[in-house]
Every structure is written in C-alpha cells, then in structure tokens.
Amino acid sequence: MALTGLFLISFLIVHAGINACIWANDGGVMFNKAAHFMGSTVVIRIMEVGLFLGIFLHIIQGYMLEFQNRSKRKKGYAVPIRNKGSKWYSRSMGLLGTILLLFFIIHWKNFWVPSRFTGVPGPEMELANGQHVHNLYALMQSTFQELWIVLVYIFACISLCWHLIHGFQSAFRTVGVSNARYLKMLKNIGIGYAIIISLAFAMMPLSMYLGWVK
C-alpha cells in the first residue's frame, strides 16, 4: 500500500505539473506540446504501463485490506466509537478510494481513451515547428463546458484531498519512519501536498468552465 501510494503521490506531481500548462493561457500550445511529448516518447509510454500496474496493485491491495480488516470483528459494538481518537477520513480510506476509482473511469473515458485509442475529435493543432499534434486542449475545453462533469471533478478532488491527508503520512509510517519530529513534519507536508495538488486539479475544470483560460 505504502509503496504504491508513494508512487501514485509522485505521479500526481508530474500530472498536475503538465496540466498546469493550461494556465499559460496561450490557447493550449504549451499544454498540447507537453501532452504530445508524454504521448509520443517511448520511455514515458513504458512508464505508463508501470503507472497502470501501480494503480491496479494499489486498488487490489486496498480492497483486500479493507475487506480483510472488516471481517475481523464479526460482532460489532452497540455504541460505536466514531471520532473518539481517530479521524473520519482515516477510517474511510476504502470509501474515498472507491470514489476515486469511479472518478478514474469517467476521467479515462473523457481523456485517456480518446487520446490513445479512439482519437481526439476536431482538427489537430499545428505547432510553430510545423508539427501536428492532438488538440487535447480543445477536448478539455469542450468536456468542461458541462456543469455536471465539472462538479464530478471537483468532488473527486475533495475526496483525493482527504485520501492524501491520511495516506501521505500513513505511508511514511508504514515504511518505518518513527522519529517523532520527522513524523510531525511529514504530516504537515502531507496536508500541504494534499491541499495544493487537489486545489490545482480542481481549478482546471473550473478555469475552463468559467472561461478564465481561453
């Protein structure tokens, strides 16, 4: 869990970094260039296979862990313990993960499937060097005209934030960091990371819907 979790954490930084190119507000030139690089470079395509393996391992391990742990108390309490000592999001990693999984299905259908398989609709973009690339930027713009899709993305980002606030520090505990000072620092870094990453992702559909980037 921890290793795949940390792997996904590092992936999210790259993903958020590339998507942030939309804010160059240059009609998507910079973003399309970056997306083309990611889609056409062999090393990155091989890493993509690793990414999918990582996600699936994390999901499978996550559900196995969740169901095994749930089976360990056949008879429960009449008065539940609730928040006496633990946070709701720490106890809801399976639920938050499931929301993320459902979101991934929508997200892959929106962007990954068209970009890799069925083709991005609309004309390609011609870069300054004459190269023609998929206009994923235009696809983003058209996708995020639908209010309900924007809301789904924002909801997923909120879930991601909670998943990471627990997951980030938990992963370091799992790999054996036990120094109290470091753990406190890692907890704060985790909260910062979770908020910045989720906010960055949530702002993307919002920026497009509200027309902040053209």
Partner: protein, 254 residues
C-alpha cells in the same frame, strides 16, 4: 471533590457462555457514591443480584490499581470509559451525573471471543508474547544493576513502551481489530535495549507471525489505539515495528 450519591441506569451485555447469543440487560443502580470506582459500582450491583438469587455479572479484574490490564470494559463507546490515559478500575463515578445511562460491552474482536458477560479470552496476547517477548540471560548471580550503560533517551523510550499492560484496549478501539500497538510496544521495549539484541530479528518476525495467526487485522494508522491506551503508548512505536520487521526480514533467514 464533593461527595454525592447518584442513581444510574446500566445497560450491560449478558452472555452465558462463548456459544450463546447474548443480549443487553438493563439494571437501575441507586445510591452510588461519586467516590466509588467503576468496578466498585458493579460490585454493588453484583451483591444485589446475588441477594436476589441471580447470576452476577462476570468481568475481569485483578490489581484494581491500573497496572495489570485485566479490567476490560467498553463503556459508552470507548474502551476503559471516558477518561484519558486511564483504566476501567481507575475510572471513578465522579465522571458521571445523576440519571446517566451507561452502556457496558465486552471487547469486540474475533481474536478476543467472549467467555461470559464482559469477560473475553485474551490468551492470543499471551501466545504473541511466548512467540518472542523474552530475552536470553546468563545464569548465575543477578547482574549488577548498572553493569550495562544505556543512553538516557533510549532507556526512556524503552521504558515508555514497556508500560504496556496488555489490556487489549487498542484492539477493542481499532476499526481493523489490529493488535499492532500492543506488539509494537513489546517489540520496541526490547529492540531499544542491548539486553534485547540477541533475539532482535527473530523476535519481531515471530511475534508478527503469531499476531497474524491469531487473526488480528492490519494497521492502517488511524490512531484510535493510541487515543484509548491507558498507558498512552505512542503510535510511533508502530512505525518502529514496521522498520524492525523490514530490516529483520533482510537479515534473518526465516
């Protein structure tokens, strides 16, 4: 503290034996002194039950001074009741007000089956200790107290972990019924000291293997264990256990 007498309603889990289904029974108790301990309050109720010719409530207790870890009770949704860093036997009735209802349940976990009423079988913990919670010592005269110098910080950290009384509240509070805080306390206690060094690798591997065999769940670092632990064992010990386990795995041929 002002001494007053209060009346309470108790809802207590009654179960004849391990195989019967069990149910809650409601008992009104009157004239309870706020200076009584929680267990004394149950003693009063039990005396009444015995006088009425009924079966008294079975519950574990031994030292009644917060050091043996026997008094397992899940009180109003929290192991060992409302006070922080405290055992049931050291909980006093001044924590309650006249007219309160108190729900008392046994520890719930597959690995802690109910024996009768509020008593559960915690021998799983004994078997985990047997698997590795010991040290090798030379026979002969007792070693001089300060023969082995130990750094103060390490001695303090080890002592803090050694404070675990094996009560099982950590398991009772954990959504995963994980015994990691208990095992982490026992492993840390010995791993931090030179006396624990000879079995350092096999200890952690064997104790964790026994813990899994007993059917406890896996830790997801929620922190409920640390919050209810009467000895305030730090959850950071679990991170140390994880590290000890990984390093031991690379060293010991097991």
């Amino acid at each position: 503290m002002e001494h007053t007498m209060i009346n309470l309603t108790l809802k207590i889990w009654r179960q004849k034996n391990a195989d019967s289904a069990g149910q809650f029974e409601t008992y009104p108790v009157k004239n309870i002194s706020t200076e009584m301990s929680f267990l004394e309050m149950i003693d009063v109720l039990n005396e009444d039950l015995i006088n009425e010719g009924k079966d008294p409530i079975a519950f574990d207790h031994d030292c009644r001074e917060g050091i043996c870890g026997a008094c397992s009770m899940y009180i109003n949704g929290r192991p060992h009741g409302p006070w922080h860093g405290n055992t049931t036997c050291q909980l006093h009735m001044r924590a309650y007000h006249d007219g309160d209802t108190i729900v008392i349940e046994p520890w719930r976990a597959n690995s802690f089956p109910v024996i009768k009423d509020l008593m559960v079988d915690r021998s799983a913990f004994d078997r985990i200790i047997q698997a590795g919670g010991y040290v090798s010592v030379n026979t002969g005269n007792a070693v001089d107290a300060n023969a082995t110098p130990i750094e103060k910080d390490l001695a303090d950290a080890s002592f803090a972990a050694a404070a675990c009384i094996g009560c099982g509240a950590c398991v009772a509070a954990c959504k995963n019924s994980s015994a990691m805080l208990f095992v982490a306390a026992k492993v840390s206690h010995l791993a931090l000291l030179p006396q624990g060094a000879p079995e350092r690798n096999t200890r952690v591997l064997d104790m964790v293997a026994q813990m899994d065999k007993e059917g406890f769940g896996s830790c997801t670092n929620t922190g409920a264990c640390e919050a209810v632990c009467p000895k305030e064992i730090s959850i950071n010990n679990i991170a140390r256990l994880n590290r000890e386990y990984m390093l031991a795995g690379t060293k010991a041929d097991k």
